[in-house]
Amino acid sequence: MMDNQQLRRADFITSIILLLFSLWILGQALQMPMKDTYGGVTNVWYVSPALLPIFISVGLFALGVVLLVYSIKTGGAAYFFERVKVRGQGFPESFVRFGSILLAFLSLVYLDIPRIDFFLSILLFMLFFVSAFYYDDDHILHSLSIFYLAGQGIILVLFVTGIAAALQSVFKYSMDVVALLFFLVMLFYLRKMTRESADYQKKWRITLIVTIVTPAVIAPVFRYLLLVPLPKEGGIIELLNLIYYTIR
C-alpha cells in the first residue's frame, strides 16, 4: 500500500486521468443517436443509448474535479511536481517484482495461449512464475526474468516475422518443439543457478513437481471432464487425446 504522500500524488494523477476519461466518454456519447433515426427507430433524448453514458461522464467529471481539488488541498499536486524534478533514482525492487508478474501474465495470455499448445504454455508460465518468487532470491528473480523475457521475445519474433508459420508448414508441431526446448533450457538454467545450496536444490525439485503436475491435472480435467476445447491444442494435447480415446 502507498503512504499518504504517495496516495495524494496518485490522487492528483488519477483526477487528471478521470477528467480526460470522462470527456472522452462524453465525446463518444454525443456521437450516439439522440434525435436521429437508427435502425428504423426515431429517437428522443430519453430513450437514446447515450443517456447512461452521458450520466456516467457527468458523474465521473464531477468526481474527477472533487478529487483534483482534494489532491491539491492535501498537497498531492505539490508532491507530484516535486517528484517530476527528481529523476534518475532507478527502479525499486518492488517495481522489478511487479514487472516480472506482468511479464508472466502478459506473455501467457497475449503470446503463448493463442499460439502454443495449452499444456506447454502453462508449463512455461508455471516454471517461470513459481521459480521467480519461490526462491525469494533477487538474483534468481532478475536473471530468470531477463532469460524469460528473451525467450518470449524470440517466440514473438518467430511469429511476427512469419518464421513460425514457415516452420509449421514443414512440421505441424515445430513451435511446440521450440516451446519445449525453451522450457528445458530454462529448467537447466535454473538448475545451474541453484546448484550450490541444498535448500535451493529441494526447492528446484518442488518447483519441477508443481510445474508439471499443474497442467497435467488441469488440462485433462477441463478437456475430458468438463469438455472444454482448450485454446490451442498442439502436440501434447493431441497426444493426450490419443491416449484418452484409445483407453476409453
Partner: protein, 513 residues
C-alpha cells in the same frame, strides 16, 4: 396457515432430498472443505473461491451448482478464522477482527478452544442468516413486484452508491468513482433497447458486452496475486493445539452476543455490496461497547471471537436476501453468485418466485446443510486444514493464476475473455493500491444493465418526465436516501447539518438549564 405449512413441507422435502443424495453430499462437503482451505490461506478469499468454482459448475444443473458455490462461500467465510487465530494474519478480510482476540487466545495455549468457538459460532451465524433468507426474501420479492422501472433504476444506483460509500478505505468519492467505472464497463456493447454499439471500438467480441465472470475473476484475483507476490508474503509458524471442542457451554453463556451479532451480520449483509469484513468489525465494536469488561478485548476475550465469527457468517444469509428478492448482490461473493446464477439461466429478482417457485427454499436448505457440513469439517479436519498454512503462497498463487485463466476462458471458450481479464485485473490492482474499493466496481458492472434499461424504459413510459420519482412512495424514498447519501459527503452541507444539530442541541441544553 396452510401456505406456511406447505412452504415448510417443501423446505423439509428439499432438505431431505439433498441429505439423502450421496452426490449432493459429496459435492457439498468437498466444496465446503475447498472453501475452508481458501479462507484459511492468507491471500485467497471466499470471493475468489466462488469465482474459481463457478468455472467448474458450467456442466452442472443450477441446484448442484448452488450446492457447490454456497458450500465454498460458507466454508470460505469461516475458514478465515484459522489464520487469524493461529498465525495472527487474517485468512480473509472477514476474519480480520477475529485476529484481535483469537491470536491472544492461541498464545495462551487456547487455540483449540478458540477454533471450537469460531466453528460453532459460524455455524449458528449461518443458520440465523438462513432463517432470515426464508422469512424475509419472499416478502421483499412480493413488494418488489410492485416496482416500476424508476424504482429499479434508483435501486441499482442506490446499490452502487451505498456500496461505494461504505467500502471505501480512503475518501468516499473513491468508492463512487469505482462504481462509475463499473457502470461504464457495463454499457460497453450493443445496448439492449436499440442494439446500438457503444464503446466497442469496432471489435465484434465487444458487441455482446463485457462478460461479467472474467471481469470479476480479474478484478478480485489478479490484485490478490500481485500483492502477495510483490510484497514477499511469507508463511508464519502456526500455533499448535491439541483438539477442538464445540464449546457449547461458552456458547450458551454468550447467547446474547450471538443473537446481537447475527442480527448485525444479517443487517449489514442485506445492504448492497457490503461484505462480511464490515459485519465482523461492527459486531466486534458492538460487543466491546456492550461488554461489562471492555478492557479484556484485545487480550483474548471469548465474546469477541464469538461475535465476529457469528456476524460474518450471518452476513451470508443477509447478502442472499437482496440477491434473491431484488437481483442486487449483498456482498462481493454474492455478486459472483449472481454471475453464476445468470450463467445457469436463473435470473434472481422479483420474478424468481414465479419462474422458480422453490428456488429460495432450495437455497435455504443448502445453507442449512452447508452450515452443518462446515461444523463437522471444522471439528474433524481442523488439524489437516492447519497444515495448508505451511504452504508458501509463492507455490499456490501461480496455480490460482492458471485456474483463473482457464476458468475465464472456459466460460464460452473465448480467448477474448482473457484479453479482457488481464487489463481489468491490472487496473483493479492499481485502484486497490490507491485505496479504491473493488466491490462498487463489480456491483456497477453487475447492476449497470439494470440501471440502463430501467432508466430509459421509465422515461419512455413517462414521456421523458421525472415526475413519477416524486409521486411513487418507494421511488421517492430511494431518491431521498440517494440525495442524502450524496449531500452528506459535501463539506458545506455537512457543516450546515452540523450547525442545525448544534443549534438543536444547544436549544435543548438551554431549555434544560
Amino acid at each position: 396457515m396452510m401456505f406456511v405449512l406447505e412452504r415448510l413441507g417443501t423446505f423439509f422435502g428439499n432438505l431431505g432430498s439433498l441429505a439423502i443424495d450421496p452426490v449432493s453430499l459429496i459435492i457439498l462437503f468437498s466444496a465446503t472443505f475447498m472453501g475452508i482451505m481458501f479462507g484459511a490461506l492468507p491471500g485467497l478469499t471466499s470471493t475468489l473461491g466462488v469465482a474459481l468454482l463457478t468455472t467448474l459448475t458450467y456442466g452442472m444443473g443450477p441446484e448442484m451448482a448452488m450446492i457447490a458455490l454456497l458450500g465454498v462461500y460458507v466454508g470460505g467465510t469461516y475458514g478465515g478464522s484459522y489464520a487469524s487465530i493461529l498465525i495472527n494474519i487474517p485468512g480473509t478480510a472477514a476474519a480480520a477482527a477475529t485476529a484481535l482476540d483469537g491470536y491472544p487466545l492461541a498464545v495462551k495455549g487456547e487455540a483449540g478452544k478458540a477454533l471450537g468457538l469460531t466453528t460453532t459460532a459460524s455455524a449458528i451465524g449461518t443458520f440465523v442468516g438462513m432463517i432470515f433468507v426464508v422469512s424475509i426474501s419472499p416478502l421483499i420479492a412480493r413488494l418488489a413486484l410492485q416496482f416500476t422501472s424508476f424504482e429499479f433504476f434508483l435501486l441499482a444506483f442506490f446499490g452502487i452508491l451505498i456500496s461505494g460509500t461504505l467500502t471505501s478505505p480512503d475518501i468516499v468519492y473513491k468508492g463512487w468513482i469505482a462504481g462509475f467505472i463499473g457502470l461504464f464497463l457495463a454499457v460497453v456493447g450493443r445496448d439492449a433497447l436499440q442494439f446500438y454499439p457503444r464503446f466497442t471500438f469496432g471489435l465484434p467480441q465487444l458487441e455482446g458486452g463485457v462478460e461479467v465472470v472474467p471481469v470479476l475473476i480479474g478484478a478480485f484475483g489478479i490484485p490478490q496475486i500481485i500483492q502477495v507476490l510483490k510484497d514477499r508474503f511469507q508463511p508464519v509458524e502456526a500455533k499448535t493445539f491439541q483438539r477442538i471442542l464445540p464449546e457449547f457451554g461458552t456458547i450458551v453463556r454468550n447467547m446474547k452476543h450471538i443473537l446481537r451479532s447475527a442480527l448485525i451480520g444479517v443487517g449489514i449483509g442485506s445492504v448492497p455490496g457490503i461484505g462480511e469484513d464490515i459485519a465482523g468489525w461492527v459486531s466486534y465494536g458492538a460487543a466491546k461497547n456492550s461488554s461489562k469488561h471492555p478492557e479484556r478485548f484485545g487480550t483474548g476475550a471469548y465474546e469477541a471471537v464469538i461475535s465476529t465469527e457469528t456476524a460474518n457468517n450471518a452476513c451470508i444469509g443477509g447478502a442472499m436476501i437482496p440477491l434473491l428478492s431484488l437481483g442486487v448482490p449483498g456482498s462481493p461473493p454474492a455478486a459472483m453468485l449472481l454471475g453464476a446464477l445468470l450463467l445457469h439461466g436463473i435470473a434472481p429478482g422479483p420474478m424468481l418466485r414465479i419462474d422458480h417457485p422453490n428456488f429460495i427454499l432450495q437455497v435455504t436448505a443448502i445453507l442449512l446443510l452447508a452450515s452443518f457440513a462446515m461444523w463437522i469439517l471444522g471439528m474433524v479436519l481442523a488439524k489437516q486444514v492447519v497444515k495448508v498454512l505451511r504452504i508458501p503462497p509463492m507455490l499456490f498463487m501461480p496455480i490460482i493464476a492458471v485456474l483463473m485463466i482457464i476458468g475465464s476462458y472456459a466460460l464460452n471458450a473465448k480467448i477474448f475473455n482473457l484479453y479482457l481479464m488481464i487489463p481489468v485485473g491490472i487496473v483493479a490492482y492499481f485502484l486497490t493500491e490507491m485505496k479504491y474499493p473493488i466491490a462498487p466496481l463489480v456491483i456497477g458492472v453487475i447492476l449497470g444493465p439494470m440501471a440502463d434499461e430501467n432508466l430509459r424504459r421509465a422515461l419512455m413510459v413517462s414521456q421523458g418526465s421525472f415526475a413519477p420519482v416524486f409521486t411513487r412512495p418507494v421511488a421517492l424514498i430511494l431518491f431521498l436516501v440517494i440525495a442524502f447519501t450524496v449531500l452528506s459527503q459535501i463539506p458545506i452541507v455537512r457543516k450546515f447539518f452540523a450547525a442545525i444539530k448544534d443549534m438543536i442541541f444547544h436549544g435543548n441544553a438551554d431549555s434544560g438549564s
